[in-house]
Symmetry: C2
Subunit: 540 residues, 2 copies
Amino acid sequence: MSEPQNPPIEDVDGSKGPTKSELKKQAKAAEKAKKAAEKAAKQKELEAQKAAAEPDYSADCYGAFPLNQSQSRPRRERIQLASLSNRDGETALFRARVHTSRAQGSKMVFLNLRQGTESVQALAVVTPEKISKQMVKWIASLADESIVLVEGVVHKSPEPIKSATVSDVEVHITKVHLISGVEGRLPFSLDDASRPETEVEASDVQFNRVLLDTRLSNRVIDLRTQTNHAIFRLQAGIGELFREYLHANRFTEIHSPKLQGAATESGASVFKVGYFKGNAYLAQSPQLAKQMVIAADFERVYEIGPVFRAEDSNTHRHMTEFVGLDLEMVIEEHYHEVLELLDGLFLHIFRGLRDRYKREIEVVRLQFPADEFKWREGPEGTLKLTFKEAVNLLVEDGVSREELDDIDTTNEKRLGRIVRAKYDTDYFIIDKFPMALRPFYTMPDPEDPTISNSYDFFMRGEEILSGAQRIHDSQFLCEKMRSKGVDPESMRDYVNAFRMGCPPHGGGGIGLERVLMLFLKLNNIRRASLFPRDPKRLEP
Amino acid sequence: MSEPQNPPIEDVDGSKGPTKSELKKQAKAAEKAKKAAEKAAKQKELEAQKAAAEPDYSADCYGAFPLNQSQSRPRRERIQLASLSNRDGETALFRARVHTSRAQGSKMVFLNLRQGTESVQALAVVTPEKISKQMVKWIASLADESIVLVEGVVHKSPEPIKSATVSDVEVHITKVHLISGVEGRLPFSLDDASRPETEVEASDVQFNRVLLDTRLSNRVIDLRTQTNHAIFRLQAGIGELFREYLHANRFTEIHSPKLQGAATESGASVFKVGYFKGNAYLAQSPQLAKQMVIAADFERVYEIGPVFRAEDSNTHRHMTEFVGLDLEMVIEEHYHEVLELLDGLFLHIFRGLRDRYKREIEVVRLQFPADEFKWREGPEGTLKLTFKEAVNLLVEDGVSREELDDIDTTNEKRLGRIVRAKYDTDYFIIDKFPMALRPFYTMPDPEDPTISNSYDFFMRGEEILSGAQRIHDSQFLCEKMRSKGVDPESMRDYVNAFRMGCPPHGGGGIGLERVLMLFLKLNNIRRASLFPRDPKRLEP
């Protein structure tokens, strides 16, 4: 890994002794000799290291390895469980967790070995001169969730092994070593944590129910379930599909600062940060920054990043920190250009999840049974209602019009059910919200100033995106700010961005975890976040 | 945009009146009539809207449009300047900024029109019954940075137009309308902001020098330069290349919380946040979270997100918030698996920037002249030095060994120069840092506990990545924590993650803005951040 070094050439005054070219020759020879010596030493050292440190497979067939501090590098391939099916008759080496172990008498032990979303059955049987009784005993003593390095021969299984995802083979263990053990008791078993929600509800007595709070307090263990591995691959998938679509549509990714000099948008729900001798505030969204880069001619931008909401609400769908998928783009003629792009984006995400993550969706369904998420394909396109039309649907369904100045969470859910029954879709758009319900930077409708050029997108009756055309004219913006009680001077940089010319633009912000929760019907947003944050939870 | 609604069917008691099938028929007929009426009304409304709101190109050839509130949607294509070269003889419609305007007498005006990194020359000449003297006067009066909608005929230019990037054509204006004007004076001209740094240095008198601080205080204007557009496309490019390489290597993207319950890693440089009735702290890096998901069997993960450093240093290379490109992966045999993956990642980024962003790099070079960034290709691979070897190189170069317990910024720079001269590369790795210089979670070398399995990566003599093998054994970790004065109880969840079995692992964190700054030699990290944050700057 290291480079040969030139030996330092000793100082000569040049008046006496060897000539320059002689000196060079000498230096070269010395260098060569040194290199050779170094090489030999290195070789020797390497061999010594290897001999001393490499776990010797031939001597012991089992036992704990010394702590891996990178003592050696035998470069022996370790395979993925998923590839075992194709290795009938081969010897395979792999790292896995002991999911469960089950001794059968004193001569045989079965292991269910797990690797991410895959698992396989392995067994060790006492065999003269190969596998001792002690070895079987030691294997049977391994705690669940220990990490082991296993060498074994792959055998086709006569019948499918139901308990394993790689069900057509089993591994006959020849060697097994402990890489990392378990200290103390697990807070819950992975099997209990993986049970279908319905099964648990139906039978509280038979199974240990693992409550969400217990899971979150021991999130590292909880995250090991196959369900959670699938959920977070899907989370990454949504991000990837989001970027993919926007790249194809000439968007540039940006990164805007989360530390802000002033409490922006609406002062109430912003976290305050101690900033050297003063204060800063955590951005509620990249709203201001992304509009400012539109004023800087970036044309179409998106950002994926944390957004912070200091709202003291402990609902199934609120967190104090979540991942925002935000975008903003120039409007040429009409804000429906934005609305249509966002619709195309969601269709790309839905189709991509369905087509590329079939396996993951199936895995999640096992624990969280749900109707498949439905959207409209074909020429009719996505269902788009105006706010007024949405209100009418609710009124027809029996909601009193008086309570429908806004559509609250309960009525949103109800609307979702109405729409599903009537239009057979879990995904729809509400356009043209009343101006009173939207922030000051929202562009009013040209015909009716009480209505705005804004929209929400819904999945299974819950809002997942909020967006609008923004006001790009600084004077009109200041007027609207004042009418909503915001002093334009308190947002000087933001207002100035529009003073120097800004094209018409619009955009929206998507809650990543909400999309994930609602696509899979996980029923609680915390299940869609690795380490969720709410007013009562800051750890782990 | 709206869906037809079924008329509500009136309640009937079923005992009298029309039969069910009659009722259905009536309802159907009523629905049909209503739909037809709605359609007619909508059509009428649309036509009225169009007539009232659409800027009428035929009536006036110039003037300010009414504020775009999405009055209409003529669906007329607006083109990108870059495509003008292929439209000789065509009429083109496009939106652009007035970069500069120059009247020639009262009958002719030249505009330099800008769109992102592209620009084109346009001109208007008084022509009977087509372009009036008033129109030319009005065009000449447009402020620089106004946004206009231009219609014109594309003409091949007899000779290249030096002032425009689309230099082979010019646009003969037929119509021009103001979309967004400029209020007040620009803080500096875009031309002044775009001048090569060397040119400015050579001639302070002739040009207005735009200082970095002035730029940052008026960042929206500053970001409009072609240089900045190119810089932030390159920034997005680095992120894309990072993800691309890691996806191909089976990494999953994660999002870890920035709000933490305790001041982690090292208490001194963490921002404190008011969190309801208590406090939270901003994550200094996703270090703990990404290790915890490794303990949850995620195998290989990466994150792109903000990291926060409460360090009161105002150097050219520090910010209080920057974008971290972080990754963590399981080690099978040796931590050099991680080091080699990271090296492969950087080569992928360098090659990708060189091959896909040639134009952008050239644009930046015009303002920030620099030697091309060099790395080693071919079988010899990237230069890897041990810390000891790096120290020896510095000592050979005349630095006293006593001051080399650590290599400070000055000596890093010096080492960069030595390495460039000796090995012809701007990119290299230093491996095996002294344990004393690394955080408690760093894995010591198996042979020498004063040395660690850790590494830094360098570009042009500045650190851009720091990483290591981490301690995955909880007891050993607690021992190291105590020896560095950290109470394991204060990081209970983190330590617990390893108690339940964790594979050996390692990773690293890259500073996105540093990579961008050093690849392009921008000399100040603030130039590589959209809206930089330092102890003295929280706005805009």
